[in-house]
């Protein structure tokens, strides 16, 4: 954007002049026919000057003018990339070239650094430049990963190789800095994505996740990551979070199930998906009843109502049936209750939409994930966990979230891999394959992820669970819950793998996981106090509760005398003692002294027998029911597994815990009815439809029976119920308050 008069430029004209002169002094394409890039005489100093401009003008004064000028001068694509290309693979001994390459990187890293929309610290300048610079970064990424002249990412790694080769004890500060710089460069490239609210007008495929993974694979970056991850703790210490970030930006929102499919399966899955979507569309179109006449046919209908009232309805579809008439009456209303606007979500922005990988990137990522699980998983994640525990200085707040997200992601990937292996093994077994190999694979399988199944990890996880809930950091809590869920599922698979030592270990782990009553409380509280968080959180919370209940139920059945550690219950005791006035405890409900002693002993004992039914009762209050109903409201978009989750919960409430009254509320009935018989029902061809139909039928039957039994339910159906009134409506007598033991 050259201003002919230079009058009303958005950046200071002097800054622009300085930057432009620096960029032109850097060098240029030679006019010879080979068109090689010629470095200027003082190229190194020029690069350092540019770096200084960025540091002392942009960062010191919190502006973005220099970055904007550099973008307009086309520095990266026009100069830096060709300069990096002049440093050939075999010329590693050239000191000067290596220095130049390093200087280039030092300029590129701040330019590609992730930008934060932090409304509290943004100035006018930020608002002016950031939209442009965001698109500029996308252009940088496109140029860097698609550069034909050289493998830029690979070159970047080569800059750091001499420093990496030095043993960790002998590395200087500068060496550490160079390694970090290169890792940050990779992290920036991996994390840049087109901003969500802008339509990217370039070629999407050049900057998509598939292109990124392809570039990483082709330029041997995956090998570097594997090397770093598997040596974490030996040759590398402070680079753990940076490596983790790179991996996070590569695998976030990737569908694991699809990743482990063979190409044939993938083709089939995609075809099925298309067929399913088309079918859904057809169903949708079918559900709209189109009038059989033109739109000015002018049908008009009177609906007779009580008290001699009439309601007038227009349109032919009103003739069809009562339900349609009611819907028309309702839809004609224009009043909307006031609602609060939704807040913009920074993390959603970071996560981006689900990643769609082409088959090539899919295979590349799959092989990386398998190698990583085999070699890098335990060292990297154990090390990051230690870093989190000691709260290292270089640890950012978001690292914790990414850590839990990645642990969950890789645990699920490991499970998927095991399953796909098993399938292929089963196929091979038919072809007369030996069974020992399978056994061996299973041996290694759980060991590969043992780094996150130890006691220290559970302590960290528990702490994070309680803290993020307390500080209302919903995003971290989402990641923690997903992680917890995946650990539970993994351990449960260990229980059933059919190998004795694994089963013993799994048994041990489960007993430790379920031993703390504080965890039980946390899970129950999280689900009960859901309010307005995003769908991802809701999904994670319901998933955790579903698996927690399921696994705990089977575990407590196997271990009849399961014990949990609870807090001492002395407060009530103290109160009673005070009321009695003095040191002798209240003796009104206990017979003699010995019994009293026993009761006392039991009260202060920290272990209590676990009663699953009582525990499950903590998931029947209105808050929990509401959470699951909110989840079910998305039924049109839920997967089969998610529908099953909601189904099992409702079944548990209505028939296992005998609290179906909690579901007798008009809006819940409305939702359930519409899921089966409404204008937009569940997909009738889906496997879950039959189960839902049966469940809804049973619940409705119970409801009508209850209304006959107790007419007062007609009123109570409008409201949330307290547990006591619900109990009365359910059983017809007051709840016996259990005398506390």
């Amino acid at each position: 954007m050259d201003m002919p008069d230079g009058a009303t430029d958005i950046v200071h004209p002097e800054v622009r002049a300085h930057i432009n002169s620096l960029v032109s002094a850097l060098g240029g394409l030679s006019v010879d026919d080979d068109g090689q890039y010629q470095l200027g005489d003082d190229a190194l100093e020029v690069l350092r000057d540019i770096k200084r401009w960025i540091r002392f003008y942009d960062e010191k004064t919190n502006r973005m003018d220099v970055a904007r000028c550099i973008h307009q001068a086309n520095l990266i694509e026009g100069d830096l990339l060709p300069i990096l290309a002049t440093w050939p693979e075999n010329a590693n001994d050239s000191k000067y070239k290596a220095r130049i390459a390093l200087a280039c990187l030092e300029v590129m890293v701040p330019l590609t650094w992730p930008m934060e929309w932090d409304m509290e610290r943004m100035t006018v300048n930020h608002h002016r430049h950031m939209p442009v610079l965001e698109l500029a970064q996308v252009a940088y990424k496109r140029a860097i990963i698609n550069f034909d002249g050289a493998r830029i990412l690979h070159t970047a790694v080569r800059v750091a190789l001499p420093s990496m080769a030095v043993p960790i004890g002998d590395r200087t500060q500068r060496d550490q800095g160079i390694i970090k710089l290169v890792l940050f460069f990779l992290r920036n490239i991996a994390s840049i994505a087109p901003p969500p609210d802008v339509k990217y007008d370039g070629d999407e495929t050049q900057i998509s996740r598939s292109a990124t993974i392809d570039a990483f694979s082709y330029q041997d970056i995956f090998h570097v990551l594997l090397m770093l991850a598997s040596n974490m703790g030996d040759d590398f210490r402070n680079e753990d979070t940076a490596v983790m970030e790179i991996i996070y930006h590569l695998v976030k929102r990737v569908d694991i199930e699809k990743m482990f499919m063979s190409d044939q399966q993938l083709h089939k899955a995609r075809a099925d998906e298309l067929a399913a979507v088309m079918k859904k569309e057809q169903e949708m179109l079918k559900s709209y009843s189109r009038p059989s006449r033109h739109n000015r046919f002018g049908t008009m209908i009177w609906v007779k109502r009580e008290d001699g009232k009439m309601t007038t309805l227009m349109g032919q579809d009103a003739v069809a049936n009562a339900a349609t008439r009611q819907r028309k009456m309702d839809n004609a209303k224009t009043y909307r209750p006031p609602r609060r606007a939704k807040k913009e979500d920074k993390v959603d922005r970071e996560m981006g939409p689900p990643a769609k990988l082409n088959s090539r990137a899919n295979n590349q990522l799959q092989s990386f994930v398998e190698d990583f699980l085999d070699s890098g998983f335990n060292p990297l994640f154990s090390h990051v966990r230690k870093t989190i525990d000691r709260e290292a200085a270089y640890l950012m707040q978001y690292h914790r979230r990414q850590f839990f997200y990645l642990v969950a992601w890789f645990l699920e990937a490991e499970r998927m891999r095991r399953r796909s292996k098993k399938d292929s093994n089963d196929n091979n077994n038919n072809n007369n394959n030996n069974n020992n190999k399978k056994q061996d694979e299973q041996v290694t399988s759980f060991n590969l992820v043992a780094g996150v199944l130890n006691q220290e990890m559970f302590i960290t996880l528990n702490k994070a669970l309680h803290e993020s809930y307390e500080y209302k950091d919903w995003h971290e809590l989402t990641a923690v819950m997903r992680c917890f869920t995946q650990i539970l599922i993994t351990v449960q698979e260990m229980m059933q793998c059919g190998r004795d030592d694994d089963e013993e270990i799994a048994e041990n782990i489960l007993s430790r996981l379920f031993y703390e009553e504080a965890t039980h409380d946390a899970v129950a509280n999280i689900i009960r106090t859901y309010k307005d968080q995003n769908f991802d959180y809701l999904d994670a919370a319901t998933e955790l509760v579903h698996h927690f209940l399921r696994i705990l139920e089977s575990y407590s059945k196997q271990n009849v005398d399961m014990q949990v550690r609870s807090r001492k219950r002395t407060r009530r005791k103290k109160k009673a003692a005070q009321e009695a006035g003095g040191d002798n405890a209240a003796d009104d409900d206990e017979g003699d002294g010995s019994e009293n002693d026993e009761a006392k002993a039991e009260k202060t004992s920290k272990e209590r027998k676990f009663d699953f039914h009582r525990f499950a009762n903590r998931f029947t209050p209105q808050g929990v029911v509401d959470t699951f109903i909110t989840f079910t409201k998305h039924y049109r978009d839920l997967s089969d597994a998610q529908l099953k989750r909601a189904h099992r919960y409702l079944y548990r409430v209505a028939f296992k815990q005998e609290m179906s009254v909690m579901l007798f509320r008009v809006d819940i009935i409305h939702l359930l009815y519409n899921m089966v018989k409404g204008p937009e029902p569940l997909d009738k061809s889906s496997s879950m439809f039959k189960d839902w139909e049966e469940l809804v039928k049973q619940i409705l039957r119970k409801c009508t029976k209850k209304i006959d039994e107790r007419p007062e339910l007609i009123i109570e159906m409008l409201f949330s119920k307290t547990s006591s009134s619900a109990h009365f409506l359910e059983f017809g007598y007051e709840k016996q308050t259990v005398s506390s033991k």
Partner: protein, 119 residues
């Protein structure tokens, strides 16, 4: 009248804003009023016929339309689901909770003579 007064520039014109009519709310007042819960009970006693076993979905439809018509009479401007949410919210109020307790207690068996019935 002179031409000046005919123009109407001698008299003062009041430019005070008139107070807006208050928004109609679906609150506990309205719910406890004659068109609210009492009417619902009266209608339930006369106009709600559920068939029971074998007619679950028809019954649900009847039940839903019963509530919808009642809410349409009580608070015509809001949609069914929005109105339901408002009613539910009003149910947390103290007055409302007390009234609800009353209605439940009416359904309870009396203090005398119910021990024989229930074995």
């Amino acid at each position: 009248p002179t031409t000046q007064s005919a123009l109407g520039i001698d008299e003062e014109v009041s430019v005070q804003k008139r107070a807006r009519a208050p928004n109609v709310k679906l609150d506990e007042e309205r719910l406890l009023g004659p068109a609210g819960i009492p009417k619902l009970r009266a209608r339930a006693a006369t106009g709600l016929r559920l068939k029971g076993r074998g007619h679950e979905f028809g019954d649900a439809q009847r039940l839903l339309s019963f509530y919808q018509l009642w809410l349409d009479d009580l608070f015509p401007k809001a949609r069914f689901l929005d109105a339901l949410a408002m009613v539910e919210k009003a149910g947390h109020k103290r007055r409302m909770a007390a009234a609800r307790m009353e209605w439940i207690n009416e359904g309870r068996p009396g203090r005398a003579g119910d021990e024989e019935e229930r074995d």
